[in-house]
């Protein structure tokens, strides 16, 4: 059945104007095709473990991306900016993974695209393997493209339907003149085998594969140049549940085998928990909390992280009747064109007080590997009554500048974690 014309896989729908939206009749999922019925070997995995001492391969500091908003007048002026990413700092350890989570519009995908330099950042530095790539020219980026690759969300639209799988995967080798023509095919077959596809299927077209297999093709393409960093933008959210796990485990295999570092951008908190030993939570262009997995999921200190986690249905808990109370967040995320003053989350925050509108909370390190940006940081149900940050910022408890106070700690926006941190209980600096 491999003779399917690219068009027919969608046209074998029965005279179907009233067809239900389900993929039953349209996708290659059901094409009676041996490419789709090839059963790849699967692996099983526990959650990835991180090495806290690994050197950072990517260090991002104060990264900003403002998209201009034009007026609709006769002369189009820039009348504002969408502050998609606004001062984000983080590290990705070599061979490790950082998860970037948040809801739509929080800037996580834009951050991913900035790292791959699909956009040029408005400000900030992107230090990759010792080199700042935030301002590198298009020409200078070419060698970089080998080192940083991207996996996209939609396996249906991110592959060119007119190119065979072999040429999709082999194209980077040709573009970068890495292998002589003769050796490209063996390498493509090797890659197909690595990602669990039949190596004999290199001359087939994307439509002959199912969604999960297409995502494997996308991964093979990203692997072609043996990158050091993969930016995975929602790599499994378009896939069926059973296929999601296949792809996550495949990525884990690849990380183990080739030591690839991942920036894992996703909205699914459970998937991120499984894949990333370290996780950053974003809200309206800023990181509100970043911590190692255990801390972030078991002892989140930011009210947004807490709300986010409580909103995720927990199958195993619910099944044994142990349903947790949800924290209801009212309303919608405000516009990134005109974000709220002070803390961006304050308009929906159950803890918000005066200081939150006046002063933006710094991303403060409060544990060995834990930073949080909240004036009232604390574990769920144990949030302090008075802002913990007031003394540090030289303001009083309502947020007005206090000339008497002298900031006691330097709260920079450095990527990574320091050896000393601010102890919330004692309100002094502490160290391990």
């Amino acid at each position: 059945m491999s003779s399917h014309d690219p068009k027919t896989s969608h046209e074998q729908v029965p005279a179907g104007m009233a067809m239900p939206n389900e993929d039953v009749l349209s996708g290659a999922e059901n094409a009676p095709d041996d490419a789709a019925s090839y059963i790849a070997p699967v692996s099983r995995h526990a959650a990835t473990m991180g090495d806290p001492n690994a050197k950072a391969i990517l260090e991002v500091k104060d990264l900003k991306m403002y998209f201009p908003v034009k007026s609709s007048g006769i002369i189009r002026r820039t009348i504002g900016h969408v502050q998609a990413v606004d001062g984000v700092s983080f590290q990705v350890p070599a061979g490790g993974s950082l998860g970037l989570v948040g809801e739509s519009g929080c800037g996580k995908s834009t951050t991913g695209r900035l790292i791959t330099r699909l956009y040029e950042p408005t400000a900030g530095t992107i230090n990759f393997d010792g080199q700042d790539i935030s301002k590198t020219s298009a020409r200078g980026l070419k060698p970089l493209r080998r080192e940083i690759q991207m996996i996209f969300q939609d396996p249906y639209t991110s592959l060119n339907p007119r190119h065979s799988v072999g040429s999709i995967i082999g194209a980077p080798l040709e573009i970068h003149n890495i292998l002589p023509k003769k050796q490209i095919l063996p390498r493509v077959q090797e890659l197909l085998e690595i990602v669990g596809l039949n190596p004999e299927h290199y001359n087939r077209y994307p439509h002959e594969f199912s969604g999960g297999q297409r995502q494997r093709i996308g991964i093979a393409r990203a692997l072609t140049l043996q990158p050091k960093l993969l930016v995975a933008d929602e790599p499994v959210s378009a896939l069926d549940v059973s296929i999601q796990a296949q792809v996550i485990n495949l990525l884990q295999d690849l990380q183990d085998e080739f030591g690839i570092a991942f920036l894992f951008v996703a909205h699914d908190l459970a998937v991120v928990r499984h894949f990333c030993p370290e996780v950053a939570v974003m809200y309206l262009g800023k990181i509100v909390e970043i911590a190692d997995r255990e801390t972030l999921y078991n002892r989140p200190n930011h009210p947004y992280t807490q709300a986010l986690l409580s909103a995720v249905p927990d199958v195993k808990q619910a099944a044994i009747g142990g349903r947790r109370e949800r924290i209801r967040l009212e309303g919608d995320v405000p516009s990134p064109i005109n974000p709220p003053s002070g803390c961006r989350f304050r308009t929906r925050c159950p803890l918000a007080q005066e200081i939150c509108a006046r002063v933006e909370p710094p991303l403060l390190q409060i544990g060995k590997r834990h930073k949080v940006a909240c004036h009232f940081a604390g574990e769920l149900g144990k949030h302090p009554d008075k802002p913990v940050t007031a003394g540090l910022l030289g303001v009083d408890d309502s947020g007005t500048p206090d000339p008497g106070a002298s900031p006691s700690v330097d709260v920079g926006n450095e990527p990574g974690f320091a050896d000393t941190w601010f102890d919330l209980e004692r309100r002094t600096m502490a160290s391990a």
Binding site: A15, G16, A18, M19, N21, S72, I74, R76
Partner: protein, 338 residues
């Protein structure tokens, strides 16, 4: 929206100016001496020189072009050379703004030429438009609703047949058989509304309009059919059905409204194109429209007429585009913002 239109008009004017310059330069880049053509075959070198002076061909191209632009804004007089005008004041031709030039070949200003031909071409294009849009949409929707049946196949096949026949064949067939031999309708003669009223005007436009409409209809049938079918599989059409709406209402209110939006773009462009492009039909029915004028002007190397036509038709395309965009915003609320 208003600001948007202003911006588009502004860009349109710049585009027209550039078009006029390109036409000028192209014209003079050709190996033909325009003065020689304007004057006629048996002119002596002196006569040619005089013609050149009268029409301003003796000046550099750029200067001629600026003179032309000035004429468009404030009008001008012919002959171009002031000495010639002073020598024979009785021969001076007034060409009021917007002056598009003077055609020596036809001894008349270009404005006069266009004014004479324009109503016919516009009427013809309108008549054709009306017929092909009505027919195209109607048959397209029927074909879509009856998809896969004999009705559907019949409509698609028939429209293809008409599309495959050249315009002169359909035109001649309608003229020789329908009008002359079988006398089903009178032989078409163009009569302006002012002279013969609405009835005669329509009568004159029926057959030539139908010729053009049959040609264009094929595309519209197929597009309407495709768009309606596509919109029928949209989620919002399913929603409309899930509400319990009658299928007729689902079709007219939900499906067709979305399906016909892309047609608006096509209509605008096809209409503007038809203004100067109905050459064959005009020739078959011996109608003096803009298309025929364009062919004649090209053959006789009548520069002023050609430039005038280019600008008029260019304006039409630009205006049609602006109207289409505005209509789009009216139809689709999502376009209205920004």
């Amino acid at each position: 929206m208003f600001a948007y239109v202003i911006r588009r008009v502004f860009i349109g004017v710049i585009l027209l100016i550039v078009m006029s310059l390109v036409t000028f330069v192209l014209f003079f880049a050709s190996p033909v001496d325009p003065g020689r053509y304007a004057c006629g075959k048996n002119c002596s070198p002196a006569q040619i020189e005089q013609t050149n002076k009268a029409l301003g061909y003796d000046k550099p191209v750029i200067e001629q072009w600026t003179d032309f632009l000035k004429g468009v804004v404030v009008g001008r007089e012919y002959p171009d050379d002031p000495a010639l005008r002073a020598a024979a004041p009785q021969l001076v031709v007034e060409c009021p703004a917007p002056c598009l030039g003077y055609s020596v070949v036809n001894s008349v200003t270009v404005n006069e030429e266009l004014k004479e031909r324009f109503p016919l071409s516009l009427s013809l294009a309108l008549a054709a438009l009306l017929m092909w849009v009505t027919g195209g949409v109607l048959f397209g929707v029927i074909a879509a609703v009856r998809k896969g049946t004999i009705v559907d196949r019949g409509i698609v096949a028939l429209s293809l047949i008409f599309y495959a026949f050249p315009a002169f064949f359909i035109g001649l067939f309608l003229l020789k058989f329908v009008a002359i031999k079988w006398e089903i309708v009178p032989v078409p003669v163009y009569t302006p509304i002012a002279e013969g009223g609405l009835g005669l005007w329509l009568q004159g436009l029926f057959l030539p309009g139908l010729t053009l409409a049959l040609l264009y209809m094929a595309g519209y049938v197929r597009m309407t059919r495709a768009f309606v079918l596509e919109s029928m599989s949209e989620d919002y059409v399913r929603t409309a059905r899930a509400k319990g709406l009658k299928s007729r209402k689902v079709l007219t209110k939900h499906s067709m409204r979305a399906a016909l939006t892309p047609l608006v773009t096509m209509i605008g462009l096809d209409f503007a194109g038809l203004m100067g492009g109905a050459i064959i039909t005009e020739t078959v029915f011996n109608y003096n429209g803009l298309g025929k004028l364009a062919v004649d002007a090209t053959v006789t190397y009548d520069l002023p007429t050609i430039i005038g036509l280019v600008l008029l038709l260019g304006t039409f395309v630009i205006v049609a585009n602006i109207i289409v965009d505005v209509l789009y915003a009216v139809i689709d609320p999502r376009v209205r913002v920004g």
